[in-house]
Symmetry: C3
Subunit: 266 residues, 3 copies
Amino acid sequence: MPAEGEMHGPERTGSGDLPNITAAILERLRARRPRVHCITNMVAQTFTANMLLAAGAIPSMTIAADEVASFVARADALLVNLGTFDAERRTATGIAIETATDEGIPWALDPVFIDRSDQRAAYAKSLIAKRPRVVRLNAAEFAALAGQNAQSDALAHFAVDNLTTIGLTGATDLVTDGVRLLTISNGDPLMERVTAMGCAATALVAACLAVESDAMTATAAALLWVDIAGEVAASRARGPGSFAVEIIDAIHAIDGETIRRLARVQ
Amino acid sequence: MPAEGEMHGPERTGSGDLPNITAAILERLRARRPRVHCITNMVAQTFTANMLLAAGAIPSMTIAADEVASFVARADALLVNLGTFDAERRTATGIAIETATDEGIPWALDPVFIDRSDQRAAYAKSLIAKRPRVVRLNAAEFAALAGQNAQSDALAHFAVDNLTTIGLTGATDLVTDGVRLLTISNGDPLMERVTAMGCAATALVAACLAVESDAMTATAAALLWVDIAGEVAASRARGPGSFAVEIIDAIHAIDGETIRRLARVQ
Amino acid sequence: MPAEGEMHGPERTGSGDLPNITAAILERLRARRPRVHCITNMVAQTFTANMLLAAGAIPSMTIAADEVASFVARADALLVNLGTFDAERRTATGIAIETATDEGIPWALDPVFIDRSDQRAAYAKSLIAKRPRVVRLNAAEFAALAGQNAQSDALAHFAVDNLTTIGLTGATDLVTDGVRLLTISNGDPLMERVTAMGCAATALVAACLAVESDAMTATAAALLWVDIAGEVAASRARGPGSFAVEIIDAIHAIDGETIRRLARVQ
């Protein structure tokens, strides 16, 4: 486990550091097999569960109001994903976040497609007030949330103002807690051609939060892991169908050596 | 884009024509990346989203009553699939079709399994009265809808009476708007061994409607595309599991040359 | 079809018997193509449908209260899986079991994750009182259901007391109707790294119940089939992603010779 304070900014967590930290986190995750409860959208559920299982975590997915508290209380981390925004999921989300807060269980928010609906954006804002440890989103979603373009300054301000960590994914990923900032230049364009890839990445962030108390580190490690898995998968795939299969295999197989060799982090 | 009137019947749109038109439509689709909102069943959602992404479209899938209008209004086409027929989807369907009608957004209907339930058949009939541009179904579903066997005459009458285009899939596909009739003899038996294959084909019809105003042409192009992808996939697959992966790759990779070489259209 | 009384205990249904019986059952299933209605969780639906299609069955999945009775009445077997435990599924479950009971349609219960929620465990107990032909579960779920560890004696008592057959899956599978007991030592650790593998196995049990009236035989055949498919898949897979694809291909392709060669049954 990295010593306290090993990551304080891009200067100290460049390409020499994050790869080793990530290698340590994925070893811990595979050894501890944390439980991750996921309130996620109907399209993403199967792929997310398989990504978590491949990573070494144990997913659960119920959204029933009368049992979600039991599941969250026995979990090590929580994912809240807004990709389908139905009444049952909203009720479950309220209960799940309250349970996680009471029990000190870290949770990550994925405000999928809030740029497509004002109601969904307003709901996402109400959830951010409940203090997710991490918000993982893309540039369009950040703009809908913050009313600003997704420049690193705006991300940092948003993180500080909302006491959270931002993981912005795109051609380059940016991770910031407002003080520190990391960029990850790994990944592959095929990642945008498979549904729920971002949703599954946020689930991996939640899994890393279960074994790494520093949210900035957990987020960067998860995104680096999935991005490098994406590169490995792309080298073997013939298109988005085989890519979706190969990335699950790569999440499962990847080792510290591969991460150190391929990481492009600043 | 094909000139107006380029397709008026099998005589004029035989193997020389539809393949080239299809090649042009899939190029437009890949270039324009239309948004397709899908109200589809829980079993089909992931495969449908991945098929649309592989084709070049951008899927969305929410069924929440308070945001579905926002999503449809920002989409280029709408899919309504009855494969799971729950209360929330029915509410969403009513709103979505009203929005699509108001905004002039084309929509396609997939009346899955209406032969298994009278209630579902009655609901499908009520939706056809709202004028889908295309109805894609199989022979058993057509019989449940029209009270007649799926002969080409019955299909043509149904299309005229309901001001729609019919895409009937099976060993041979038939497409008719009541005036024109096309048959497509491509495809592979493994297509029936993967769940949601027909659902995904209808989603592809909707995506083609977003870039081709003639519903007959859009439907025939989508079915030819998916059928030829099925043949390419079958040549590489070892069974239905690998076939489901390979057909996504093939939808993504297929080019005009392959379509022209393999098309069996009359 | 095996003669009455061909299986009365491990002595009589050892490695020489069950493989041949399983080979006969899977031939019947592929020839008859039974309909299996599945009330199953959102995560498992697609994989379950594809497993059933690969096996030769025809799945349906609706949970709508006003049509589920129609679907069940036209089906040859029913699966009830508690993996997502929402209000709509509970209503559908009540109707489906009542219809199955009235029509004499066999049904199998999969009490997923009842060890995580007391409410879910209580609900599972109420369903067992309605006499599923088979309950397929793992050791933690059995303990939550029976209040005892999953030893073979406890399984047998539970089967007798509840007039059902138990299929307990794990590193070794145990099948008992209280009188007879079989153990199956096939399978692969990767089966635990793919979501819904157990759910799909229970669906295969339901499919076998449609073509084999002895619940003990149907359960053992289904578990042997899926376990051997898991071994075939593992020999070809690079990780859990490709394993999930290969096991569908193997379920589809496996023949009696492979089952006889690989079966480890006592």
